[in-house]
């Protein structure tokens, strides 16, 4: 106990006395750690951004898309029963139809064609739909007499940006004119995008848009590890119910062909490792020079009774204590850089809510700093242990 305390006291004294020299050496380590942590943090943020965009398009991991195709269209009612059976049998919580449709709407400036997505409430969860105003569909929205609509920003603008609290209405024109209520607004997928809207499946059927439902897809969100087994089981189920038809049960999400970020993470890890290696070499270089400068002092300490282990521990602790402090500073710098709002918006423009700074990046930075300190301290410490006391005192 006293040995460890004494070694720490000794290391701290050494750092205090040589603060300018050590500070200069540690600036390099702190910057290396900051670079390492920032690269990992930025990489993580970019991955989150890519993931978010990919999940909006293809659904969360793992999303299965089901479809039954053949020379003739499958009986819609039988298909619905088959899908309901699958949901019940496999206990699937989030699912949704997805049927595209074109529908004309009456806006204050005239009638306009709108890309309508006919979906179920589960679609919002599966595709991570963000709502900037109002809310996404709830299960009881299917029972509204006036169908609920979640519209894009472009649609909302065309409708004159009414206050959602007032339950604004829009009219679906055509053979069966219907009044719908806007309950939520989603951001436009890209600038200048045309107006679009989501409507629930049953509401679309009642509004006469149901004809296209059978042409669309049925999506399920299942656990990653169960996706392959479920694919086989569902295909078999559907094949039995629709003999002679072609069954589609495929993963639609970004991770369907393995983790697309693995290569990016490998590259990021490689760059981070290189950065750290450069920092370690710099630290080692300075530590070696420092030990040569301290040969006499080491000899004097040996004359006081310092054992080889104690000299080794002392030299190494200096390096470890110093790099741990530098690592902490580096991690703080990295957090300040990565969490800067401007940088966040540039790296992950698709994200509306940015994730917290990844704790694993901070731990990696700090751990790497301590490891660098231990490695960069071990070699000079070995040199220090090999110092001949008699020669050292006369050095």
């Amino acid at each position: 106990m006293t040995g460890v305390v004494s070694a720490l006291v000794e290391a701290w004294q050494e750092l205090r006395i040589n603060k300018t020299r050590i500070l200069l050496a540690l600036v390099g380590v702190a910057l290396s750690v900051a670079a390492l942590t920032s690269v990992v943090g930025v990489g993580n943020l970019a991955c989150e951004g890519f993931k978010s965009a990919a999940e909006r398009n293809g659904g969360r991991s793992a999303t299965l898309g089901l479809g039954v195709f053949g020379p003739t269209q499958a009986d819609p009612q039988k298909l619905e029963e088959a899908y309901s059976g699958i949901i019940e049998r496999y206990g699937i919580k989030y699912y949704s139809h997805l049927s595209p449709a074109q529908q004309s709407f009456q806006f204050p400036n005239g009638v306009q064609q709108v890309q309508l997505q006919v979906v179920d409430p589960g679609y919002g969860v599966i595709h991570r739909v963000d709502v900037s105003q109002g809310s996404w569909f709830a299960a009881d929205d299917e029972d509204r007499l006036a169908p609920a609509l979640v519209v894009s920003e472009a649609f909302y603008n065309a409708a004159g940006r009414p206050n959602l609290v007032t339950h604004p209405k829009v009219t679906l024109t055509g053979s069966q004119a219907t009044t719908a209520v806007i309950i939520g607004v989603t951001p436009d997928p890209y600038p200048q995008s045309p107006p679009s809207a989501y409507m629930l499946t049953r509401a679309a059927e009642r509004a006469g848009i149901g004809a296209m439902v059978g042409m669309g897809q049925f999506k399920l969100w299942v656990q990653d590890g169960q996706a392959e087994a479920l694919k086989a089981a569902i295909t078999s189920d559907l094949q039995q119910q629709f003999p002679g038809m072609q069954i589609q049960a495929e993963r639609m999400d970004y991770a369907s062909h393995g983790d697309p970020f693995a290569a990016v993470q490998l590259a990021v890890g490689g760059i981070a490792g290189l950065v750290l290696l450069l920092g370690a070499v710099g630290m080692l270089n300075i530590s070696m020079v420092t030990v040569r400068y301290r040969v006499r002092e080491i000899g004097i300490r040996r004359s006081f009774g310092a054992t080889s282990q104690r000299i080794f521990l002392g030299v190494m602790m200096e390096s470890v204590v110093a790099t741990a402090v530098a690592g902490l500073a580096g991690v703080m710098l990295a957090v300040a850089v990565v969490k800067n709002p401007w940088i966040e918006s540039k790296i992950a423009p698709d994200l509306t809510e940015y994730p917290a700074f990844p704790i694993e990046a901070a731990m990696l930075g700090l751990g790497a700093a301590i490891l660098v300190g231990a490695l960069a301290g071990a070699i000079p410490a070995l040199v220090a242990v090999r110092v001949k006391v008699i020669d050292a005192i006369r050095f």
């Binding site: 040995g3 004494s6 004097i300 006081f304 310092a306 008699i390």
Partner: protein
């Protein structure tokens, strides 16, 4: 008196780069007891420092027997010798060898960092006591480069004695000091050694310093022989 350190037929030989052997010490016999004040005199290069290193457990003899407090030193491992050196031997060097950048108090505290038990926790208190004994309590926070040569050597003495060693080894302790300061330092060293009951071995080529000892040896070409205590100018 208790026998502290004894050398019997000790030799020390080193191998030169051209494979030839250099005999630095030849058949050295020496016994030092607690409370002794022994001087070893000799010219530069006669092996004085090699003898000091053997006495201070910094080196091992090539042949012969070296016992410290009755224990044959060659049986001790490096770490055991280091621990024994830390607890029982205090060094005073010619060039003081104070650690730069540390105050006088920090310098005196340093050997206590290699001690065990309460001495580690009470190190500042013990160091202040020792600085007080050498008359430098008022300069405790002063850096070595702000102290005179005599003051630096007094700090070095305080540092050598802070762990209450049984043997004090002084290698040319007045070599870097003027005559008056050297005399004061030697008087202090002798007084403190006597008070603590430690044996003092002074290695010097200065007959005035050797004259303060109670026993004297001459080292010539690696051979140690007893000699009369010189009647130095200062004695």
């Amino acid at each position: 008196m208790e026998e502290l350190v004894s050398l019997k037929g000790v030799t020390r030989t080193v191998l030169l780069p051209d494979e030839q052997e250099l005999h630095i010490l030849r058949g050295v016999d020496l016994t030092v007891c607690s409370g002794d004040h022994t001087a070893v005199i000799g010219r530069s290069g006669c092996g004085k420092s090699t003898l000091l290193n053997l006495l201070g457990l910094l080196d091992l003899p090539t042949s012969g027997e070296l016992r410290f407090q009755g224990t044959p030193v060659e049986r001790l491992g490096n770490n055991e010798r280091a621990k024994l050196r830390g607890s029982s031997v205090g060094f005073v060097f010619q060039q003081f060898n104070l650690l730069p950048g540390r105050s006088a108090l920090d310098n005196v505290t340093t050997p206590l960092l290699y001690a065990r038990g309460p001495a580690v926790w009470k190190r500042r208190e013990l160091a202040m006591d020792m600085l007080d004994r050498v008359g430098l309590a008022c300069r405790a926070e002063t850096m070595p480069n702000m102290l005179s040569g005599g003051e630096q050597q007094r700090v070095a003495i305080a540092r050598a004695l802070v762990r209450r060693p049984r043997l004090i080894l002084a290698d040319e302790p007045t070599g870097a000091l003027d005559v008056d300061t050297g005399q004061a330092v030697m008087a202090l060293l002798d007084t403190v050694a006597t008070e603590t009951g430690a044996a003092l071995i002074t290695i010097t080529h200065d007959v005035n310093v050797a004259g303060l000892a109670r026993a004297c040896y001459r080292l010539e070409s690696g051979v140690l022989t007893p000699t009369e205590v010189p009647a130095g100018v200062l004695a």
